[in-house]
């Protein structure tokens, strides 16, 4: 943590604007604004703003705009010069009274979608402006599942906060618990037993595989290729059942706790995961071949929903969104943390930037995760899996872990009684949602589900 003055803050903003560094997060608390930046390492800047005002980062670096709108809604911090002053997470007493961007042009029509969508998905509003079938603009409105996480964290016990962190985005519960626990351990200066760290890796890769399988099937299904969804659904279900057998919960919620993991992995558990790896390897390559050989499917995914490398870089797009558009970043390797810094794996990167590239990145990552699982099971260190953690007094910690969607930032500070004073978790979706608006431009309305699913941003993780 570095407490900075306004001049330093503005210099950091300039560096962000010209692309010398990458924005990792921006969040508030009463009277103070925080910014995390990726330079050679992670730099955390704190700016006191007793009068509740600070120079806007979004004024020169667009990726910060929604973050600043959110911090303003939550803590009343006013970013001076913010180009978009509409509320973001706070919808107010009349939720339908939101000033969408004005649209002016002959023959344009608008299609409002959501917040309640046709499928079983999270709520959000999409306002399409179309010229015939072609989308000329998508404007998102999010915040429908805003649950007040940052406020709930304030004053929470460590145990309450850990459970809450694991329920910010259910599909990434392992990654959230991993990031939260790592930030706690950084704040307290403790290291969990080695076996616990490796078991965290096992859970994290199972979660990644389950989600990538689900997405692979769902993306193909959105191109009316439902046999892929059926096959991937079976494989995904096998992963979740394996997780339940090994860790007592299908999504592995609360499996990672500050100080280690909640339960050890038995010898039967190890054998079960090995069998699972074999089962996926027996079936998955055929599905990939089917994807590769189905021209009608490729016709929908290749060239659709293009995201430029420049935008991916400027927004610091994490995960498959960034890596399909040339951004070679993976917190497991680029930042490096246990157990990954002791394992061999590739970080697949493509430059095509379309739906197909985001599918291919997922496919390659499933293969990498299977290999990581094998390596971890082969070398799982013996010993304890949990260290008693007793927060004694003030302390601050930060962690960046790679969730299936991309890098997930966790920051927290303890108060003098060992409770959580402030905690903020930033989902990769914050920087991916705005890019979806860019990726859909010029595509037909009917391809939106495909583009959307290829991003698969979290609503809950974003809305906090």
């Amino acid at each position: 943590m570095t407490i900075v003055d306004t001049a330093y803050w503005q210099e950091a903003t300039r560096c962000l604007g010209v692309g010398e560094v990458t924005l990792l997060g921006l969040w508030g608390e009463p009277g103070r604004i925080h910014m995390a930046i990726l330079d050679d390492g992670i730099v955390l800047l704190d700016l006191d703003c007793a009068d509740g005002r600070y120079p806007s980062v979004g004024a020169r670096h667009a990726p910060a705009i929604r973050l600043e709108r959110a911090a303003r809604d939550l803590f009343g911090l006013e970013p001076i010069g913010l180009p978009d002053t509409r509320p973001w997470l706070a919808h107010g007493p009349n939720p339908t009274a939101y000033p969408f961007l004005p649209v002016d042009g002959e023959g344009l029509h608008q299609i409002p979608v959501g917040p309640v969508h046709a499928g079983i998905i999270e709520p959000g509003h999409f306002r399409f402006t179309a010229d015939g079938e072609t989308v000329v603009r998508l404007e998102q409105r999010l915040g429908y599942v805003h649950k007040g996480i940052d406020h709930l964290m304030h004053g929470a016990t460590l145990e309450q906060a850990a459970r809450l962190a694991g329920r910010i985005s259910g599909d990434s519960t392992v990654a959230y618990a991993f990031a939260f626990a790592s930030a706690v351990e950084a704040a307290l200066g403790v290291a969990p037993p080695p076996r616990a760290l490796w078991l965290r890796g096992v859970m994290a890769e199972l979660e990644r595989i389950a989600n990538h399988l689900g997405d692979f099937g769902a993306i193909c299904n959105d191109a009316s290729f439902s046999i892929m969804l059926a096959h991937c659904g079976i494989l995904r279900e096998r992963v979740l059942r394996g997780a339940a057998a090994c860790f007592g919960h299908r999504l592995m919620m609360d499996g990672i706790v500050p100080g280690g993991v909640a339960a050890d992995l038995s010898a039967e558990g190890v054998a079960g995961i090995r069998a699972l790896i074999d089962a996926i390897r027996a079936r998955f390559p055929m599905l990939v071949e089917l994807y590769d050989k189905t021209a009608s499917l490729q016709d929908r995914t290749v060239g659709t929903g293009f995201l430029s490398a420049d935008l991916a870089r400027r927004f610091g797009a994490g995960g498959y969104v960034g890596r399909a558009s040339g951004r070679d970043f993976d917190a497991r390797r680029s930042i490096g943390y246990l157990p990954y810094d002791q394992l061999r794996f590739d970080v697949p990167v493509l430059t095509e930037g379309d739906v197909n590239a985001r599918v291919l990145i997922r496919i390659k990552e499933i293969e990498q995760s299977l290999s990581l699982l094998e390596q971890m099971l082969d070398r799982l260190p013996p010993g304890e899996v949990r260290l008693a953690v007793e927060p004694g007094g003030r302390g601050e910690g930060l962690a960046l872990v790679e969730a299936f969607r991309g890098d997930l930032l966790a920051w927290l500070r303890f108060d003098e009684n060992g409770r959580i004073d402030r905690c903020h978790l930033r989902d990769a979706s914050w920087f991916q949602w705005p890019l979806l608006e860019a990726a859909i431009e010029g595509n037909i309305v009917a391809d939106f589900p495909l583009c959307n699913k290829s991003f698969n941003c979290s609503y809950s993780g974003h809305d906090l």
Partner: protein, 169 residues
């Protein structure tokens, strides 16, 4: 290759479902009157509404459609509009920002209709209890007929809950 792929689907993975379920669920279902049962018959059209969930419940509701649980074999299916629905399956602690959306969806669902609150958050706000951004339980916003607990409930628990709705006496 086609043969191999079809093989994967042919070998049956579909689960048998024990309709016994848990006693709490059975008791709740029993409260649904005979008239409801007669009207629902053996088929239910379900509209899912996420009113603030972390998306964990949605993942497991999704799983109901996979080959293991194969929801449609029981005459249960998810529909795209509340206008087509008999049942609203609602998840999450209802957020301030989704209250209107939930109420409108409920109003858009034709009578007779039933509401199933899915998950610990929908049942009692879960870990989000006390948040100024949340209204409360689903029952605080729309009338609830059945509660399926769990964080999230497993697909089997969901299936048993829905079948309880069909077999209420």
């Amino acid at each position: 290759m086609l043969r191999t792929l079809l093989e994967g689907l042919r070998s049956p993975v579909t689960e048998k479902v024990d309709r016994g379920g848990d006693p709490e669920l059975a008791a709740l279902a029993a409260k649904l009157d005979r008239a409801a049962q007669r009207r629902l018959g053996r088929s239910l059209a379900i509209r899912e509404v996420d009113a603030g969930s972390c998306n964990g419940c949605e993942l497991e509701i999704h799983a109901l459609n996979n080959a293991f649980y194969d929801l449609e074999r029981f005459g249960l299916r998810f529909v795209a509009s509340p206008r087509h629905a008999d049942v609203l399956m609602v998840t999450g602690p209802v957020t301030r920002n989704m209250r209107e959306g939930l109420e409108r969806t409920w109003r858009a669902t034709p009578d007779p209709k039933w509401v199933v609150a899915v998950g610990d958050c929908a049942a009692g706000c879960g870990v989000f209890a006390g948040s100024p951004a949340c209204i409360g339980r689903v029952a605080d916003v729309v009338p609830v007929n059945l509660i399926i607990r769990g964080c999230p409930p497993t697909p089997m628990q969901l299936l048993q809950g829905l079948l309880a709705l069909l077999s209420a006496r």
